[in-house]
């Protein structure tokens, strides 16, 4: 033994970076070994190894928490979009929380913090609830602590991230949301998006760090002595919460179903195109069916692991269970698509899926009876007359469900009808199918279940394909009905079902819209007449151009309507076009000229508009001149002019369109030499960026340069 001292850095790292309760003992052991002849290098290697192993162990024990925090914080950019929407949109409720200056900032801050804490609490609730009966799995003080420290930790994390991001990449975490879709927000890989997620991730991790489910440690103490005897025990056992295998299986089926439903609602969409190909739709249907099966399996797997960890012994292996349940989950995308179209077929597909699920499970899972019940029955073999038959409630439940489903279908409550019919079909099939008296061998069961799943997946894909095609044609009919109804065309609207309009437009819409003004009724020549334009590059008197171009409605990142844009006739004064997502809508009016005009021909352009917009939020107009014939299509921006009749101080309800003229001055010198297109861009207030304006351009008046 000598008096060698350990390397300072290694000792400091040992004291500060090794997690766990054994630091003192470990430090003593290493020192003892060092003084017994080990080298300083050995000491340093041991410290490095202890740090690595310690952290791997700590993080490994919280793998689920880390995964959950990552997934929940991925939602943060989409959440902040909703938050901005809530905070900026004026609503009657704001009177309750908005205070006057100088406290107005405080109330806004309080609302912002409150809503963010709600988002975090929601995440924590999901985390705790994911461990079923969490009140038993977590200590109460852990739950309370997590909820209490969320707000201060979030504030600190947000402030820290804000400062760091401003230092690293001024002006801080800015996300151009106009370029993103809601799903894109979730997967946004940019640094700004990750910076936005960081405070949420850090808060969840910090708040839930100490909250660990009890079954992870000390489980063996809680189990009876014979519980770990693998060979002697073949009986299926309840988990530590006392739930029977039958209850657990029901719960697992439901967990998978809910997960499949969530994924189907989020990801299974109709194609944007109006003329989809069969191959494309078939591929899409196959992907959706696979998604349903995978999502259901993943949902059930999470709870399966938990049940097994807490001591439950289930009558079938997970692989067999997943294969059997997947035969039901593969129908979920078709059900969701059909329900979105309010098609009654959704209910019948749900019943079919649920019946198939019940038959599969019943045939593979042996009879699960309570031992005490078995004993009672065997005793009553000699006293049959005293035995009271068990009350069978299933028949009443089945009849009630069918009865209520009929009512729901009649009231067009197709989702409710789907649930009720599914339940009745499940119970009916379960009762009708004979259960095996002993467990099916895993190998045989897996093969049989795989073949069955393959056989069922094919019709599931076909039904999903049908749902997709039906959805596209349904959407197209709605679009036609919308256009017709906007113009008061009674004949056209009579073919449509107006009650479906809102639901479908909320689900899907057009990727972009081109709105052409209605041609004058008495006009014989279809092509639009253009106002004659002078050959002289300088105007001597004002030139009036009647607007006869198109209005474009589209969403960023597009800069113009796409190839599948819905093209129709109409006036922006009569239609009500809005975004069905959180992405803002861009509205532009485009006037093409018959031949290019020299930029020096005029000194200003006056645009006369009609305003019939009664929604809150001011509007402005920007003007852009472009030369589409020149290489590179150069353009000239003429600035923004507010529309006075839309400003809050002059706002009044407009029964008829209000005419207003806005003036845009042309610069004397500009890189643009001539122009053949005038574009008017409607610029709304942030509160109304998701809707088009009821503003129509009447005419342009080009003023000669000499006149001013």
């Amino acid at each position: 033994m000598n008096s060698a001292e350990p390397p300072r850095l290694a000792r400091w790292m040992l004291e500060h970076f090794v997690p766990g309760d054994s630091i003192d003992a470990l430090a003593g052991d290493l020192l003892e070994e060092l003084r017994d002849g080990r080298s300083a290098d050995w000491y340093s290697r041991q410290v490095a190894s202890a740090i690595a192993i310690g952290w791997i162990r700590v993080l490994g024990a919280r793998g689920m928490l880390i995964l959950f925090a990552v997934l929940w914080s991925l939602l943060a950019p989409a959440w902040t979009v909703i938050l901005d929407h809530l905070v900026s949109r004026p609503n009657p409720a704001e009177e309750f929380w908005r205070m006057d200056a100088p406290f107005s900032g405080l109330s806004s801050f309080g609302l912002w913090l409150g809503l963010n804490v709600v988002f975090l609490w929601l995440g924590m609730l999901v985390y705790f609830a994911s461990y079923a009966s969490f009140a038993k799995a977590f200590a109460r003080h852990e739950i309370v602590r997590a909820f209490l420290i969320a707000a201060p930790v979030f504030l600190l994390a947000y402030f820290g991230t804000f400062v760091a991001m401003n230092l690293l990449m001024y002006p801080g975490p800015m996300i151009a949301r106009r370029t993103m879709t809601p799903l894109g927000e979730f997967f946004d890989p940019r640094i700004g998006a990750f910076a936005l997620r960081l405070p949420y991730f850090a808060t969840l991790l910090f708040a839930l760090w100490e909250a660990r489910p009890r079954f992870e440690f000390g489980l063996r103490d809680a189990l009876p002595a014979n519980a770990v005897d693998l060979e002697s025990s073949t009986m299926f056992r309840s988990d530590q919460d006392g739930r029977t295998p039958a209850t657990l299986l029901r719960f697992l089926v439901l967990a998978g179903l809910v997960n499949a439903l969530i994924v189907a609602v989020l990801l299974c969409r109709l194609p944007e195109t109006h003329t989809p190909t069969l191959g494309n739709m078939l591929l899409r249907a196959a992907i959706y069916v696979a998604l349903g099966a995978l999502a259901g399996t993943a949902g059930a797997w999470i709870y399966w692991r938990r049940a097994v960890s807490s001591g439950a012994r289930l009558p079938v292996p997970f692989r067999l269970f997943a294969l059997l349940c997947a035969a039901g989950w593969v129908w979920v995308p078709a059900i969701v698509l059909l329900a979105a179209q309010e098609a009654p077929a959704a209910a019948f597909v749900a019943a079919l899926a649920s019946g198939l699920l019940a038959v599969g499970l019943r045939r593979a899972i042996p009879l699960l009876t309570d031992p005490s019940e078995e004993d009672a029955e065997s005793r009553e073999l000699f006293a049959a007359t005293l035995r009271r038959p068990r009350r069978e409630l299933q028949g009443y439940v089945i009849a009630g469900c069918i009865y209520l489903a009929g009512f729901a279908l009649n009231d067009r409550e197709h989702l409710a009808a789907s649930g009720l019919l599914a339940l009745s079909a499940f119970l009916f099939a379960w009762q009708l199918t004979q259960a095996p008296h002993r467990a099916v061998s895993a190998r045989f069961g897996n093969t049989r279940a795989s073949l069955r799943l393959a056989r069922i997946a094919i019709p599931a894909v076909l039904v999903t394909l049908w749902a997709l095609f039906d959805g596209v044609s349904h959407r197209d009919r709605l679009g036609e009905g919308n256009t017709a109804s906007a113009h008061g065309n009674a004949a056209a609207t009579s073919d449509t079902k107006p009650t479906y309009f809102n639901a479908a437009m909320a689900l899907d819409g057009y990727e972009s819209i081109v709105l052409w003004p209605e041609p004058p009724k008495k006009e014989i020549v279809a092509p639009v007449q253009l106002t004659p334009q002078p050959q002289d590059p300088h105007l001597t008197k004002p030139l009036v151009l009647r607007f006869n171009g198109a209005y474009w409605y589209f969403q960023p990142p597009s800069k113009h309507p796409g190839p599948h844009a819905h093209i129709t006739h109409g006036s922006p004064l009569a239609v009500d076009i809005h975004s069905t997502s959180y992405i803002p809508l861009t509205m532009e009016a485009h006037q093409s000229l018959a031949r290019p005009l020299h930029l020096n021909c005029c000194g200003a352009i006056e645009v006369e508009i009609e305003n019939r917009d009664n929604r809150p939020g001011a509007l402005s107009l920007a003007m852009v001149l472009a030369d589409n014939a020149a290489p590179g299509k150069p353009s000239l921006y003429l600035g923004v002019q507010p529309i006075a009749s839309s400003q809050s101080d002059r706002f009044q309800i407009k029964r008829a369109p209000v005419t207003e003229t806005l003036r845009f001055v042309l610069p004397a010198h500009a890189p643009l030499k001539q122009f053949d297109e005038i574009t008017v861009v409607v610029i709304p207030d942030p509160v109304r960026m998701d809707m088009g304006a009821r503003i129509a351009v009447s005419q342009f008046e080009l003023e000669p340069r000499s006149s001013f």
Binding site: S49, A50, V228
Partner: protein
């Protein structure tokens, strides 16, 4: 189909070392015991990680000794196998022995 956790190879070795050392089972002798039988270096940190894992499972329990100057004033942490730990070691030996018995004898090379 049932699922359960078995003792890992390293965990089993540590349990055996703790049993073998008896009242003198703390970090240094356990590591030395393992090094002696395995014939290679053992990270003391990994020994502690495994011991904490076993303690969490209720297979070992620990108690602190008196701080000593040669250890820089740090106390030793002694480990002792619990009844359940001993039972699991026996159970693992029984299962492994049965499995070993099914191992076929190596056939001699044909000349």
């Amino acid at each position: 189909m049932t699922e359960r956790g078995y003792l890992g190879e390293f965990e089993l070795m540590i349990l055996l070392a703790v049993i073998h050392l008896g009242d003198e089972a703390y970090g240094v002798p356990i590591s030395r015991e393992l090094e002696k039988h395995r014939g290679r270096d053992v990270s003391v940190g990994s020994v502690y990680a495994a011991l904490e894992r076993l303690e969490g499972k209720g297979l070992v329990e620990s108690s602190l000794g008196e701080p000593t100057p040669e250890r820089g004033g740090k106390a030793k942490r002694y480990f002792r196998v619990t009844k359940e730990g001993l039972r699991q070691v026996h159970e693992t030996r029984r299962v492994l022995s049965k499995l070993w018995r099914t191992l076929p004898e190596p056939q001699g090379e044909r000349s």
